[in-house]
């Protein structure tokens, strides 16, 4: 396996090849960027004069806005391009689009793309740093970083925690990034979903991964429960009868009794109430979903600052 990050312009392509020490530095720095309680964010100038292009080939609201706010809070200028209405829809290839953008000399490109490996492919052909904001079903590195920041806001460390990740693991870039990150810090990870969304090779993805088809078993003793959205748009066929999904893999209040008393419930969003988790869980005291959103900005500030200054 080639360590992609080291070979190319300093960007953030994935968690798998990111050193544990780099992750620690980003998470520490993100804490500095968290807003004080009942106060607004600090306004900084550390990226003054820098330009960040957000290039979103796939629809996204929260990640796109989160990156925009993060860049602006550091004093950078941002420009966001959605695939619809750009030259992409006129048949321009990905390489040409990126070359055109690179010729305008932005300092970094934040990119989301529906194809796994698209940022890795581009990073081999461009000198500009690329931040992966989600590539297909591969990785979503800043999501895993903000999830780790959120867990660490509620627990002293990641080591030894039991984290259950439940849902459409096969198509989840969030799951892959989280598995790599949590594994690097010695967490115990249980991946859970219906068999066709839970390839058995996932057990070899990183040390400390277990698989389960049974939700109660997966949640047993959990410190953290991460629910994933069922990615209908990435599936060719339904893994099980749609009416049955929530019954067997949807998180409801009664499940929480199997977890540790101080369990936290996470979700990368957008949530589908009544599909992968019940409204009662989403709105319960255990839910830290909005903390995740808040940490998204702080973590992305730390990432952009690291890459650009």
């Amino acid at each position: 396996m080639i360590a992609l990050d080291q070979k190319m312009a300093p960007g953030l392509l994935d968690i798998e090849h990111l050193e544990r020490s780099a992750i620690e530095q980003i998470l520490d720095r993100a804490r500095f960027f968290q807003p004080p309680p009942n106060d607004s964010y600090r306004r900084l100038e550390s990226l003054k004069g820098k330009t960040v292009v957000n290039l979103f080939f796939e629809a996204s609201t929260r990640t796109r806005i989160s990156f925009e706010i993060a860049a602006r809070r550091l004093g950078a200028e941002t420009l966001t391009i959605a695939a619809q209405g750009s030259s992409v829809s006129k048949g321009e290839s990905l390489v040409d689009t990126l070359n055109t953008l690179a010729a305008m000399r932005p300092h970094a490109i934040v990119m989301r793309h529906a194809a796994s490996g698209a940022p890795h492919f581009l990073a081999r052909h461009l000198k500009i740093p690329i931040v992966n904001a989600g590539d297909g079903t591969h990785e979503h590195p800043t999501q895993a970083l903000l999830d780790a920041r959120t867990i660490l806001d509620h627990r002293p460390s990641l080591a030894g925690l039991r984290v259950a990740i439940i849902g459409d693991i096969a198509h989840s870039r969030v799951a892959r990034s989280n598995v790599h990150l949590l594994s690097k810090f010695g967490a115990e990870i249980v991946l859970c979903g219906p068999p066709s969304l839970l390839p058995r090779e996932l057990a070899d993805l990183a040390p400390g991964v277990q698989l389960s088809w049974d939700m109660t078993e997966a949640i047993q003793g959990a410190d953290v429960i991460m629910m994933l959205r069922v990615q209908l748009e990435r599936q060719h066929e339904a893994p099980m009868s749609s009416g049955e999904y929530f019954r067997f893999y949807g998180l409801r209040l009664e499940h929480l009794n199997f977890a540790k008393p101080n369990v936290i419930v996470m979700h990368p969003g957008p949530i589908n109430r009544g599909r992968e988790l019940s409204s009662e869980v989403a709105d319960s005291q255990k839910s830290v979903i909005l903390n995740q959103v808040e940490n998204g900005v702080a973590v992305r500030m730390a990432v952009l600052e690291r890459i650009l200054s």
Binding site: I2, L4, S93, V95, A118, D135, G136, E201
Partner: protein, 427 residues
């Protein structure tokens, strides 16, 4: 028709069992004699000292893209790449535009090849019209026009009844049915071999079972019909085992493997480089080992490249959008030497078989031997020349090779067709 006196080399001719220091005399395009102390006054001489002189190599599985896709390759450029790779005979698959499913297209290819190259170009016809898998193509008239086999390579016949009828008809013309074994429903949407690596990279999987299921079906149909059946580019441990079993039962079954399927695994895909994207996909270590064991044991009859040129613009895309296939003609001998011979798994004679009597036997070709009286097609190669493959310098119109920059020990030295040297290293 040229004459050539090739002297000083080690002559390896598996068809006649000859292996030793000897000279080869080709007169007016025909092999006249093999032996020592031959006299050939006035005949041009080729010093083959330190090299191996073998019958012209045959690649029974290439894509030449003409007619219809000439921006990626033509018969002329593909044949030039073949010569540079040490091949004197190539068999081209029918997935051109239009598909080679009738005698007019077959004749076009045969005539065009005569105009543009000395390399023997033998077309393979489609099994079904348009390779759509429904109605049988004009197999008899294509056979009259010069096809040596039928195949819907790349678009396998999913309907087992149609495949049965094709095998039955092929019996009448004594040609093999070649199948690219892939259950298209199982492989649909897949990007690479399904396993730990596809899960890691978030790429969609093509399970080994998609190949195995079709190999099993075809072997059963071959038993039912008694047809000559050939598995193209097999890539899985199970496929080799099933072919071995069928052979042990006396079925007229043969198979080929590509160099990339015995040289590299799906571990190579970590950089999402589309030059590692092909069908069947690169598999696991154990499959690579099964390919090599199949070569050693004799279950595998031939090495074939599946040379599949694609224009650069088609390969410079997101991995999942790129077409499948890689070029292979110029690296086949080098890879075979490095992975099979230099590793001690097979000797030089077996290597030569895989490129000569092997494919010639599958297709019942007259080529593949140096017996006096046959056409003077010769491949000269060596075992110790160090060289680096540079895809940008390829004779092919396309550069989509995963072996760009790879270092090799030994490779083709000269390619001779009917006594004429059509390619020579360094010239």
């Amino acid at each position: 028709m040229k004459s050539l006196f090739i002297f000083g080399g080690r002559v390896v001719d598996p068809a006649s069992g000859f292996d030793g220091r000897a000279d080869v005399l080709i007169r007016n395009g025909i092999v006249e004699a093999i032996g020592s102390n031959l006299e050939a006054p006035g005949v041009p001489r080729f010093d083959a000292t330190g090299t191996i002189v073998a019958p012209g190599f045959i690649d029974m599985h290439v894509h030449l893209r003409e007619p219809g896709i000439e921006h990626a390759e033509t018969i002329e450029t593909g044949a030039r790449a073949a010569a540079a790779g040490g091949f004197t005979t190539i068999c081209c698959m029918p997935n051109t535009i239009p598909v080679n499913d009738n005698a007019t297209v077959t004749s076009y290819i045969v005539q065009r090849a005569r105009q543009v190259t000395k390399v023997n170009v033998l077309p393979i016809g489609a099994i079904t019209k348009g390779s759509l898998g429904e109605e049988l193509a004009a197999i008899g008239s294509m056979h009259e026009a010069g096809i040596v086999a039928i195949s819907d390579d790349g678009r396998p016949v999913m309907n087992s009844r149609v495949m049965r009828r094709a095998m039955e008809l092929a019996l009448a013309f004594d040609i093999p049915v070649i199948d690219h074994c892939e259950d298209l429903n199982l492989s649909a949407g897949g990007d690479m071999h399904e396993g730990a690596q596809s899960v890691r990279l978030g790429l969609r999987g093509i399970p080994a079972a998609s190949e195995d299921v079709m190999v099993a079906r075809d072997l059963l149909l071959a038993e039912l019909t008694g047809a000559r059946f050939h598995v193209a580019h097999l890539s899985t441990q199970r496929s080799v085992a099933m072919v071995a079993f069928a052979k042990s039962k006396g079925l007229k079954v043969t198979c080929e493997v590509t160099p990339h399927h015995f040289a590299i695994t799906d571990e190579e895909l970590g950089t999402y480089d589309s030059n590692f994207r092909m069908k069947p996909p690169l598999r696991r270590d154990r499959d690579v080992e099964a390919m090599i064991e199949g070569i050693v044991s004799g279950v595998i009859d031939a090495i074939a490249t599946d040379h599949a040129p694609h224009a650069g613009s088609e390969k410079m895309q997101e991995f999942e959008r790129c077409p499948f296939g890689i070029t292979g003609l110029e690296t086949a001998i080098g890879l075979s030497l490095s992975e099979l011979v230099h590793t001690g798994r097979i000797g030089v004679v077996r290597l030569v078989e895989l490129f000569t009597t092997g494919p010639a036997g599958v297709l019942k070709l007259k080529q593949g031997t140096l017996k006096p009286g046959g056409q003077g097609d010769v491949t000269i190669f060596d075992l110790d020349h160090e060289w680096t493959y540079d895809a940008q310098q390829s004779c092919s119109k396309s550069k989509n090779s995963p072996f760009d920059g790879r270092r090799f020990l030994g490779g083709p030295v000269a390619t001779i067709v009917a006594g004429e040297t059509i390619w020579q290293r360094g010239s």
